[in-house]
Amino acid sequence: MTIEIQNINVFYKNGHEALHNASCQIPDGSITALLGVNGSGKTTLFRSIMGVLRINSGKITIDGQSPNVAIKNNLISYVPQYDDIDWEFPILVKDVVMMGRYSYMNFMRTPNPVDYKIVEESLKKVGMDDLINRQIGELSGGQKKRVFIARALAQESKILLLDEPFTGVDSKTQETILELIKQEREKNKIILISTHDLNIVPEICDRTILINKTVQVEGLTQEVFTKENLVNTFGNHLNYYNLNNG
């Protein structure tokens, strides 16, 4: 299975063009990094894949079919970036993770014992099983991220989209997330991670996409992740992003 993105242009309602002629491929059984500065269109790309934003031209297919079909088949789970969640929302940790199971449930979304078991296991995997009755705003940055990772795990989809999962998290959380993502790769999933943290890229990402309003380069990490390409994408920001290697 592959996500294929062909020459997409995406405009926001205010007329701003966030993606211009962007193309890339994201295959399964691997972890793909989506790298770019703030405002380069990473979140826009995720939203386009999810079909919450209409693409103005070009084409996105998932396994040869439209994103709508993929979504109907529960193929995609999505971990939103920090700012996209309202942290004051009156909802408990366990209920957020249970939301990952809704597509398996009946009309009224009544959980069955399997759903409860999977929610419990997912919370355990991310190490949040002792905080299930907390309101989501009453957690640290790392804990918040873990809840949404748990929700994505509970959803058991073929495709995992993670929008900046490492931003604002502690190093223990980062280790946990990295370990879980590696395990998911073994299940032959498509995993796309946007990040600012360049250090983790050579460590775990098989493929890299460099984005700045358009896809500048994409391919195997060992070929794409060169100083020259990175300077081209990040420009003067490169030092800011604290690159230690390459």
């Binding site: 919450v52 979504i71 109907k72 995609i76 999505y78 939103p80 009156p90 909802i91 809704y102 979304r109």
Partner: protein, 280 residues
């Protein structure tokens, strides 16, 4: 004491007023929770005002006023959505233009046309003038809306909380969006006879705001919103009888007192959130 409790209800109109207040409080409170969390409180305000021209036109065409009100409300929300999607103006701005325009149009028509409609009944309701037909109609709408909300509250909650996740679950966002707007219009119309345009806005904002202040969890928010509003409805009808005031505004006063109580008991922190949301 017993006398004190039942004496208002020797009058049929007082009993009707009590029953209808309770029946409209329950679904309105639940809906209010979703509106506050979605940041849609102002939409309730807008639709409530926008029903006025619908009522006048329905009068002219000699069709049930309720039908005119419903379609005017729906027109307001659709027109707002259309203008927003096709311009750079923000939603709340567009909404303000649409509903005040429609309201003004309604008033102008009203003053031009000989009608037997009382403007103050439309604006403030006529809780003591409720007849059995009104009672049946309001009960029917309230119970239908309540059933839908209780069956689909989880889907609506995901829709309010994380729309991208709702999408990834394969939920139909368009149906949820317009479904909620239609329910909102229905509730406003069903409240119209009892509490009127202006006070129905209170029923769509205060319960959710009170529930929000007191809760970390949505189920609790629903329960507190509903209980506090039903209590206010019962107290409002009673007290208005003894102090000889209009029941609908008295109910709203009690709702406001509940909100203030919640505000005092549970930190002021969350209020800022509610007001930010309401502005959106």
């Amino acid at each position: 004491m017993f006398d004190f409790l039942i004496s208002p209800f020797q009058y049929g109109f007082m009993l009707n007023a009590l029953i209808i207040s309770i029946f409209i409080s329950i679904p309105a409170s639940i809906l209010s929770c979703f509106l506050v969390l979605k940041g849609w409180s102002l939409i309730g305000d807008a639709i409530s005002h926008a029903v006025l021209p619908g009522i006048v036109i329905a009068y002219i065409l000699n069709i049930p006023l309720i039908i005119g009100a419903f379609f005017a409300g729906l027109f307001c929300s659709l027109a707002t959505g259309f203008l927003k999607n096709n311009s750079r103006v923000k939603e709340d701005t567009v909404m303000g233009v649409v509903f005040s325009g429609m309201f003004a149009f309604g008033i102008v028509m009203y003053t031009k046309i000989e009608t037997n409609i009382h403007l103050d009944h439309i604006l403030f309701g006529n809780l003591l003038g409720i007849n059995n037909t009104d009672l049946k109609f309001s009960t029917f709408i309230s119970m239908s809306v309540l059933t839908i909300l209780l069956l689909k509250w989880k889907d609506l909650l995901v829709f309010c909380f994380d729309i991208t996740h709702a999408r990834s679950l394969g939920l139909n966002i368009t149906i949820l969006h317009y479904g909620l707007l239609i329910i909102l219009s229905l509730i406003i119309v069903s409240n119209l006879k009892a509490v009127g345009i202006i006070l129905s806005i209170a029923l769509l904002i205060i319960p959710g705001a009170t529930g929000f202040l007191t809760s970390n969890d949505f189920k609790r928010m629903l329960i507190i919103a509903t209980l506090s509003t039903v209590t206010a409805a019962v107290l409002g009808v009673y007290i208005s009888y003894y102090i000889d005031s209009a029941p609908a505004p008295t109910i709203v006063l009690f709702m406001t007192m509940n909100f203030l109580l919640a505000y005092i008991l549970f930190s002021a922190k969350k209020t800022i959130y509610v007001s930010n949301k309401t502005k959106n």
